[in-house]
């Protein structure tokens, strides 16, 4: 082997070693796996949950199935915004006992579940105290309720809506961050 060739090989090895040493010295990380993951909604938040394909990561049910399988009256919305003609999904929701949710095309969800709250009124006061100006307490359908106005949430993370407990069932009428609170309140008043 000619001296020039040997020198070239040695030079190449030194350069390659230098690049590797440089990378390690500078704290480089290993390349990531090439397997792709689906982008997550709200992925910037720390959350001990997988982002689901649907509201509440639920199992698709029919309204009849819901009526037959939950031990409470399934309350449906009856306003121009949300009504039986634009109901798109009925979900059986995990993580709560006997929870279901009705989803309407404009972005309204009605969540129903046996309540875990011993004192709903106190819970609403505590929630309002935590997010003053955005969350307030009041009365809905003759019982204490909590109201979240998405228009007043500067962070844009509140879907907005109304929550209350009626006959032992915790009811949440949930918006999409754009539907005005007044309209969500009308939906809550219309439930039957």
């Amino acid at each position: 082997m000619k001296k020039a060739t040997v020198a070239s090989i040695i030079g190449f090895l030194i350069a390659a070693t230098g690049i590797g040493a440089y990378y390690v010295f500078a704290g480089g990380a290993s390349p990531a796996s090439s397997r792709l993951a689906e982008p997550n909604v709200d992925a910037n938040n720390p959350a001990a949950e997988l982002e689901g394909q649907n509201f509440c990561n639920g199992q698709a049910w029919t309204l009849d199935r819901a009526r037959a399988n939950v031990p409470y009256r399934v309350l449906e919305a009856h306003t121009d915004l949300a009504n039986p003609s634009n109901m798109t999904h009925v979900w059986r929701c995990p993580d709560s006992q006997l929870a279901i949710a009705l989803e309407y095309a404009p972005g309204v969800k009605v969540s129903l579940a046996p309540t875990t709250l011993d004192d709903p009124a106190a819970a609403w006061v505590a929630l309002a105290a935590q997010d003053p100006g955005v969350v307030t307490v009041g009365t809905i359908r003759g019982v204490p309720g909590v109201f979240t106005d998405p228009a007043k949430d500067a962070t844009g993370t509140a879907p907005g809506g109304v929550e209350f407990v009626e006959d032992g069932i915790q009811v949440a009428v949930i918006g999409n961050g754009r539907i005005p609170l007044d309209q969500l309140r009308e939906v809550a008043e219309s439930l039957r």
Partner: protein, 222 residues
């Protein structure tokens, strides 16, 4: 050759060391979750000894315990790197720093940052609403760090190994002595049915290391 080596230092972009900059926080989140397979929906507390990660180059890594319902959630854990969630502090944390995050059915996200803690060891994290008043209490080694008010008193618990950047963040997590409370009882019950509950991480998986112990790792290292 020396000149070439020096030129590389000048011209080549340097890989990040330590804080890689907030631009590393992308639009993905990768979780490896587990739960206690009994009493789902009826958990009012969860606790365990949790490994706090070593200081290194991280973008946004979280290890936590949580309780959630179908519409609401509360979580207590540690973060290293950027705590970039909406309504969180948006700060870079060089060492594992405890935090709480939660939301109710209709309300905004609430996020609180607590204290940095030494890494390379286990610390006990406890999240509970033992008073059944919707005030969820986060305690580090039995000392309360903070609280969040939610719209539920019990739900289904989770352990969570989470990362946001596959290049910078390792996905490792380790939980031991996991226990839970159920509605209306102050008793802590050791996990009897620890089980995986979802995995969106392309590389890290749940491994059960005993009744109340688990690792999130690339291989079974129990």
């Amino acid at each position: 050759m020396i000149a070439l080596f020096l030129l590389m230092f000048v011209l080549l972009p340097r890989p990040a060391r330590g804080n890689p900059g907030s631009g590393c926080v992308g639009s993905n989140r990768y979780n490896v979750l587990a739960t206690q397979g009994t009493q789902g929906g009826n958990h009012q507390g969860v606790r365990g000894d949790v490994w706090f990660g070593t200081n290194s180059s991280y973008c946004y890594k979280v290890v936590s315990v949580g309780v959630r319902t179908s519409t609401s959630s509360v979580e207590y854990g540690w973060v290293i790197g950027w705590l970039a969630g909406t309504n969180c502090d948006q700060q870079y944390h060089d060492s594992p720093t405890t935090f709480m995050f939660g939301y109710s059915a209709t309300g905004p996200y609430d996020c609180k940052t607590f204290s940095p803690h030494s890494s390379g060891t286990f610390w006990n994290l406890e999240l509970k609403d033992q008073n059944q008043n919707t005030v969820w209490n986060g305690a580090f080694n039995s000392v309360t760090e903070g609280q969040l008010n939610e719209d539920f008193q019990r739900g289904t618990l989770r352990t969570n190994g989470e990362r946001h950047n596959l290049t910078y963040d390792g996905g490792f997590a380790h939980f031991k002595n996991l226990a839970f409370q159920v509605s209306g009882q102050p008793t802590w019950y050791g996990f009897s049915a620890l089980q995986a509950d979802g995995d969106s991480d392309p590389n890290f998986n749940f491994y059960k290391c005993g009744a109340g112990a688990e690792k999130v790792d690339t291989t079974n290292s129990c």
